[in-house]
């Protein structure tokens, strides 16, 4: 049994405490915007934000989320597109799109901690894999989102 808040909603799940949050979100809560990419914390496709921090949900047991607040891609744009999503659309970042939920959540957390990231900050802060190689456009989108957030 685990109780936590997902996208503003109190959620109780009767699952094993060691089930990774990723699979609880996808298979139990049908929040499939968060993706499975590697299952080993290597690619970041499963990135969600827990209490403000970008976290790889495939390496986060549900038991460790007890009482915490989880934000997924579905929650980010719930009441209108977030600045990061707007910037992503303006910059035409996605290609196949599979990793993009995780990338956007990672960018959201990066900008929350550093409203004006340099290219070097983006290199350090954005470690998720994109097999389509959308990095140059994601970099531009992060700079754009930083500007949008300030206005």
């Amino acid at each position: 049994m685990a109780a936590f808040i997902v996208n503003g909603r109190r959620t109780t799940l009767d699952v094993e405490a060691d089930m990774p949050l990723l699979w609880a979100l996808r298979d139990e809560l049908a929040l499939v915007g968060t993706k499975f990419g590697c299952g080993a914390g290597l690619c970041g496709a499963c990135t969600v934000v827990i209490d403000g921090e970008a976290v790889r949900s495939c390496q986060t047991p549900v038991g460790a989320v007890e009482g915490k607040t989880v934000l997924t891609i579905e929650g980010l744009g719930e009441s209108g597109l977030h600045a990061v999503q707007k910037a992503w659309i303006e910059a035409d970042a996605p290609q196949c799109g599979y990793c993009q939920s995780g990338q956007i959540m990672a960018a959201f957390a990066l900008l929350a901690g550093n409203p004006n990231p340099t290219d070097a900050d983006i290199d350090d802060g954005m470690t998720n894999i994109c097999r389509c190689g959308t990095y140059p456009r994601m970099r531009a989108a992060i700079h754009r989102a930083a500007a949008l957030i300030k206005t």
Binding site: G77, I89, S101, Y135
Partner: protein, 721 residues
């Protein structure tokens, strides 16, 4: 997401109730997103007045275009809709797009022609018939209006989704005309527009699928959830060609959620009520494999075998002139051996498929590059007539060739049939990497004989490489040569007194297949590295030497000259940065790339890439540029890190720690310039950006360090600390 099981019935019912399109994605704050649905698969049947199989006009005046290719990141939903809209004369940004039905293509006389997505062919091979489909639909709408108004068709004009008769001032929307237009037979089909009359094609249009992908609303195969669905994890036999001997199911069947342990093609599956439970149970399952005859092979042995295979037996892969005389001539000789490893595709979405088998039909949800073949695979696995199979194609979380053969689908159908309920198979990343069908390993021996002035008297290129044709069992290899083995070599653009390509197709037990840019991925590395070597042997600048050898290829010269200018070839660079060039034609498109590469403390970093591209014409410059950027990064990953190795018959790599992919910090600045020659040329775009990047990087490293890279990946090269 829960999908109604009989979606066909649902769509039809939805039609009756709503009188229009049943599926639309709602993305808050971005109304235009309704043009592409999160669930892109179309229905098998018409669901409104159909003005030809590609175009449906709803009573609400909506226009739906059916796209007979799969969206795997290349922007095909948008580009093909632009082609249809160019002729249909409607606002491309207001049309709705969905996938055409592969089931319908099968049972309705191949109305969508080839639905396979690959070979950088979606635009160039379907443009003419898509233009025709749009033009024919337009003329039917005009004819319907003309008949209604008693006017001549020639006096009516279609534009912006409306047909107008200027003389009388009458106008009707496509929606009002669609029913009548569907019954029109034209005496002759209209001629399609020539490029000089394009109004839409060639101008950038934002991708229809971007909002869906920025909000998590795009549905990939892995996201599908059906009522009562089982989740299955699969262990494929770790050695290709081996088989399951037995497993002790009793060790895991009591675990929470586990439904069944069952043998499947190539291995064994555990089904459970949640994927993680299935995966964990599979990890705890004692499995006894018969590894088969390849269990003692390894990469060192393969490397030696491919090298030895260069000495024959060799088949004739094409060429011209007298190579023996050229090689016997007295001038300078240059010879080099290049080697490349197996490569995995590693799409971000691991392979998966969901099947719902019943005795008289099968429904499949997955991302496939080849839905016609998926129908056949499902039918075969489930013992059902192919005409009773429907493939609901989803967004593809990357394809790169891998999703052209759907090994995972066979397993999903087997499991659904055995359990009598819908089943979703997901391969873990480890299964995805270890059970791939790989870019072939190869060795290439390149020889040049030079005249006194440094011009080539002859080139002899010998390749020892795995046969894709044999590995897939698709057709037969004729005379020891297949196109994939020699592409990029047999059509070498550089002028030489003689050219000879020799081939030894040699397969190991490791399956091989199409990997983004196929044979050009290794052949361009060898040829463009070798030309660089030859230029240096002749004491010439790499660009100037190429220019001399391309004197009778104005198409190459235009790209080369643009590239030299845009990249600032010859201009000074910081002391720890080198510059390298490569140019290559594949899939009908010439791409030249200059890479600026730094080596600091032995670490290679590609700082900047300038790409010049001649694909003849462009449909959507935005997605075209994105494809070049993507192809560069895909090839860069392979050049720097990509390597699948074999030990005890099995793939050693399993996840992104052992099979690294370029990340943000590895990504160069990429500048793409189109140098369009127009005319009749329509080249592909998904793949041609990949082949030049590895040799451009290797040549830059030579320019900087004097070390010639003749084996990939670069991570294995000692570049000093």
């Amino acid at each position: 997401m829960t999908i109604a099981l009989s979606r066909r019935a649902f769509v039809r019912a939805g039609l009756t109730a709503a009188g229009g399109l049943a599926v639309a994605a709602l993305v808050p704050g971005f109304a235009a997103a309704a043009i592409a649905s999160g669930e892109p698969w179309g229905s098998d049947a018409a669901f409104g007045p159909e003005v030809g199989p590609f175009v449906v006009v709803g009573p609400d005046n909506s226009i739906t275009l059916r796209i007979a290719k799969a969206e795997m990141g290349q922007g095909v939903l948008t580009a093909l809709a632009m082609i249809l809209a160019e002729e249909l004369m409607c606002d491309a940004s207001k049309v709705r797009v969905e996938y055409a039905s592969a089931h319908r293509n099968l049972v309705d006389g191949n109305v969508y022609q080839s639905m396979g997505t690959g070979g950088s062919s979606s635009v160039r091979r379907s443009r003419v018939f898509l233009q025709q489909a749009g033009a024919s639909a337009r003329e039917r709408l005009i004819a319907a209006a003309a008949a209604q108004w008693g006017a001549a068709a020639e006096a009516c004009v279609a534009s912006g989704g409306v047909v107008r008769h200027e003389a009388s001032g009458r106008a009707a929307t496509y929606g009002e005309l669609a029913g009548a237009a569907a019954r029109i037979t034209l005496p002759t089909e209209p001629a399609i527009k020539t490029p000089d009359r394009f109004a839409l094609i060639g101008s950038p249009l934002k991708r229809f699928d971007t909002p869906l992908k920025a909000t998590g609303a795009a549905r990939f195969g892995i996201d599908v959830k059906l009522p009562g669905m089982a989740y299955a994890a699969v262990a494929n036999c770790p050695v290709f060609g081996g088989r399951l001997r037995s497993c002790d199911a009793s060790k895991v069947t009591a675990r929470r959620g586990v439904l069944a342990v069952l043998p499947v093609t190539n291995g064994v599956a555990v089904a459970a009520d949640n994927f993680w439970r299935a995966k964990e149970a599979l990890a705890a399952l004692p499995i006894d494999w018969d590894f088969g005859p390849a269990a003692s092979t390894d990469s060192a042995q393969f490397r030696a075998e491919y090298r030895a295979a260069l000495d024959g037996p060799l088949a004739d892969g094409g060429g011209h002139g007298d190579i023996a005389a050229a090689l016997a001539s007295p001038g300078k000789r240059v010879e080099a051996l290049y080697e490349v490893p197996y490569l995995a595709h590693a799409p971000m979405e691991p392979l998966n498929a969901t099947a719902h088998w019943t005795a008289d039909r099968i429904d499949v949800w997955m991302g496939t590059q080849f839905p016609e073949q998926a129908i056949q695979l499902a039918a075969q696995a489930g013992g059902v007539d192919p005409a009773k199979v429907t493939v609901h194609n989803c967004y593809l979380g990357g394809g790169f060739g891998r999703r052209a053969v759907n090994d995972e689908l066979t397993q999903a159908v087997e499991i659904s049939k055995a359990l009598g309920r819908p089943a979703k198979v997901v391969w873990t990343r480890e299964e995805d990497i270890r059970s791939d069908r790989y870019r072939p390993q190869a060795a290439l021996r390149m020889r040049a004989a030079l005249n006194g002035d440094g011009a080539p008297a002859g080139f002899e290129f010998t390749t020892a490489v795995g046969s894709i044709t044999r590995s897939l069992g698709w057709g037969k290899v004729e005379n020891g040569v297949e196109r994939q083995a020699v592409e990029g070599l047999a059509n070498c653009p550089y002028r030489a007194g003689a050219l000879k390509v020799l081939v030894n197709l040699r397969n190991t037990h490791v399956p091989v297949m199409f990997w983004r840019s196929v044979g050009s991925s290794q052949n361009a590395f060898a040829l463009e590295s070798f030309i660089d070597e030859v230029a240096h042997a002749a004491g010439r600048d790499p660009v100037e030497y190429r220019r001399a050898l391309l004197a009778d290829r104005p198409d190459f010269l235009a790209v080369l000259d643009a590239l030299a200018e845009r990249s600032g070839w010859g201009k000074p660079l910081p002391k720890d940065v080198g510059r390298g060039i490569a140019i290559h034609e594949s899939f009908g498109t010439i791409v030249g790339e200059v890479a600026e590469v730094s080596v600091r403390s032995g670490e290679v970093k590609v700082e900047r890439v300038v790409a010049c591209v001649d694909c003849g014409h462009l449909v959507n410059p935005l997605t075209a540029a994105m494809q070049i950027e993507s192809a560069v990064l895909y090839g860069l990953t392979a050049a720097l890190f990509g390597e699948i190795t074999i030990r005890d018959g099995r793939v050693e790599q399993g996840n992104f720690d052992s099979y690294p992919i370029a990340r943000m910090a590895d990504a160069p600045r990429i500048e793409t310039h189109f140098v369009l020659s127009g005319g009749d040329k329509w080249g592909g775009l998904g793949e041609p950006g990949t082949p030049p990047i590895a040799p451009a990087i290797a040549n830059a490293i030579f320019a900087l360090t004097g070390k010639r890279i003749r084996a990939l990946p670069l991570k294995n090269a000692a570049l000093g600390a």
